[in-house]
Symmetry: C2
Amino acid sequence: MSDELLQRVKYLEEEVERLKNQLRMNNGCREEDDVNKKTTPETLDGQTESKPGVTISSKKTKKHSTQRPFDFSYHPRRHVALRIAYLGWEYQGFAVQENTDKTVEARLFEALLKTRLIQDRQTSNYQRCGRTDKGVSAFSQVITIDLRSSLFSPGLGVTLPDKTPSGTYPKTGTPAKNSAPAGSELDYLKMLNRVLPQDIRVLDWAPAADGFSARFDCQSRTYRYYFPRGPLDVELMAEAAQRFVGTHDFRNVCKMDVGNGVLQFQRTILAATIRPFEENASGNPEDPQAPHDPNDPYDPYEIFIFEIKGLAFLYHQVRCMMALLLLIGQKLESPEIINQLLDVGSNPRKPQYSMAVDFPLVLYGCDYPGLAWQGGGAELYCASAALQQQWARSAVETHVYRGMLRGLEAMGAESSKSCWLVEGSRMKNYKPLLERPCCESLEARIDHFVKRGRLERDDGENGGEAVHRGKRSKHFQDSAQPPTTKLN
Amino acid sequence: MSDELLQRVKYLEEEVERLKNQLRMNNGCREEDDVNKKTTPETLDGQTESKPGVTISSKKTKKHSTQRPFDFSYHPRRHVALRIAYLGWEYQGFAVQENTDKTVEARLFEALLKTRLIQDRQTSNYQRCGRTDKGVSAFSQVITIDLRSSLFSPGLGVTLPDKTPSGTYPKTGTPAKNSAPAGSELDYLKMLNRVLPQDIRVLDWAPAADGFSARFDCQSRTYRYYFPRGPLDVELMAEAAQRFVGTHDFRNVCKMDVGNGVLQFQRTILAATIRPFEENASGNPEDPQAPHDPNDPYDPYEIFIFEIKGLAFLYHQVRCMMALLLLIGQKLESPEIINQLLDVGSNPRKPQYSMAVDFPLVLYGCDYPGLAWQGGGAELYCASAALQQQWARSAVETHVYRGMLRGLEAMGAESSKSCWLVEGSRMKNYKPLLERPCCESLEARIDHFVKRGRLERDDGENGGEAVHRGKRSKHFQDSAQPPTTKLN
């Protein structure tokens, strides 16, 4: 293994170089708004590190490095929601883990600490909408947290400091540049995006009432899964997806996470659609709903989106749903398999099957009632400009592949009959799901974990369930890990 | 630096895993043709290494590991042309270099030696169409070489062995599976593609007359450079590209490689076009030539191709041409700049400017007269299926970016005004090319290298030029490095 790694170092260096280019580009971008030519908040601690993908000020200075420790008790706090977009491909998932530093949350807290917006995670009143798996991206991950504020007058979510300075800004406070005109808030987006890696952007923020929780006040979550048509019957998949809608027991369409106290598998799906990414790319350009002309063949290179909206999701639920749809699209299973697996009476145990790959999945939206989002402007432009450069490289590479494929077609190559998102030769001697060996039943799993002390039997808060997380549970201290709202 | 590398190891491991999946997929693919269930030629040496991206037989065995040394003198040789496609993004270029092992040519010779198709590079009568730079890909790189053959009867390019075995196949020869029916040739494509990395494929082969050279018998070379429209005026670029057509002195539109004996900068461009990748994507779907409707705005996310065909190209020539076109497309230079730079009388020295990035460039075609290409069939299908999987991942990632960009547009983000292929803020205080400092003149460079002994003055083969490569030239022993046909 280490042998390959060494061989790839050169390639890595190019990656680093590319990120540094985007960095320079971002600096250029910053110069376009005059406000921030001077020292930026993240340099309060005088650090001059410059890791790739971390936006640093080109005007760094050590002039603050000898300052007194930052005294948060002089500063107002504000309860806010932050809307975060990230590309999950190079991360081990959203939530912090013991075994790796490469998580989105780890980067996020580095930025929050570096900008002195929080003192530490424990006292920050932090909640997240949900976790996303290794390799999964998000356009709208939402967190709620208490941040340092510049408001000394009452405002939504504002808590005034214990030690109020006599009218003026505290000596040890942030430099004047950070305090916007009286009555206006710190520029949270600019402060954070400066120090976050390019592939993590804070897109928006909103003041929130005390007690408002990104975790519990989320009304619905929307995921998107991108895939190419290839040989798939997407019309059949679209029809089949409808079968997920409603309230069902999804224990056969998720990874049962009993060890972490997930004991209830009923979830409500509000909508499930499959549609082309370019709405009018397939069918009639004038009318996307128009029936497809049978004489002109479908384009196997067209990209589709499986979009699913629900109140909350189970661990790996969306990727298991997608795995079933891909089997149906390949005509390896009939759409009826969905109803059969949702009928836990007839099928109490999950047949063994592997979920769909991670990289096409995006947590696209989270709905919250009554939040007044404040973002936009220069930060959106910079995020968009950086993303356009990343898109450009990816799009060019995609078309280089496509150009070669066209060349091969011209030489007489036929296109692959198996799903393009999974390894080939899947179709050879396919074993139907209901004929496969099954996983352990829920009851067996509960017994297993009770014996090992990761679950305890008593009057838990889970209503009917007299079982709850035990002291030896992996996530025992993980407050942001609700037993019944664990997400993909 | 090493710090970032460590941080990225996890990401690397995923890359490796992805390659291994494609590997498995390829094996699956192979099983679809019955011919090769047994030991494959590359296992003659009994090796069982399995680096990622190297196609190995799933049926490996050590049974040959104790055999006698392979005696090439028993085998016929055949002079052939091989047509090779590769993705150059993870390589340091096509041609072997002293300072790195990560070249396409290095992988190619590993495969040729492992399959016992050649004894060594020196005796293989090897010639290549041309080099490609670090990061540059090819759909049609062509080489000519003498390979081990299974033909013991006369045939085009065939040289019978010194020691002819008495009718039967030599004891130390390749196993029976490799000898196709009498009179038919070894399956060069299958043998080589088994042991080549996934991102290098041999697409085709042709028998060639003795003395036929991939380097000297190439009639024309065609390059493609892929780019997104973004804010560019592609119509203006298309018009400007025409100005390259014809025979001109391109010393101001290349990297002068005087140190390697490149002293003559006249090149002939046969065609230069810019067109959308999807021919009927822009303008009227029915008629690609129809004028664009001014009311419906251009799609900045549309991909275009700069395609250039010439007899031969100078070092970095295409990327310098593209750099000029990108400046013109951004309205930073007028199309006239091309004529001005080609007029070496008025502009004898090249103004300093950086060439376009490497990854969008592809050596797309090379024309040879009278070669009868033999490839196709199962190998094309496998190459295509593997490429479709790589395309699928790339296309999905591209659409994840695009989906986020649409989300940002919906939030009010405007798209970047600078070229999406280069770092932003280029446009700010742009310095016109003709006002920039210039590079050394050709004459100054020649003097410089003559002084250092890398060039020598005498009657060289370069006709009028009385200067040729000196003993201390970097590429002194590089036979495939013609002074006047060095390519991008």
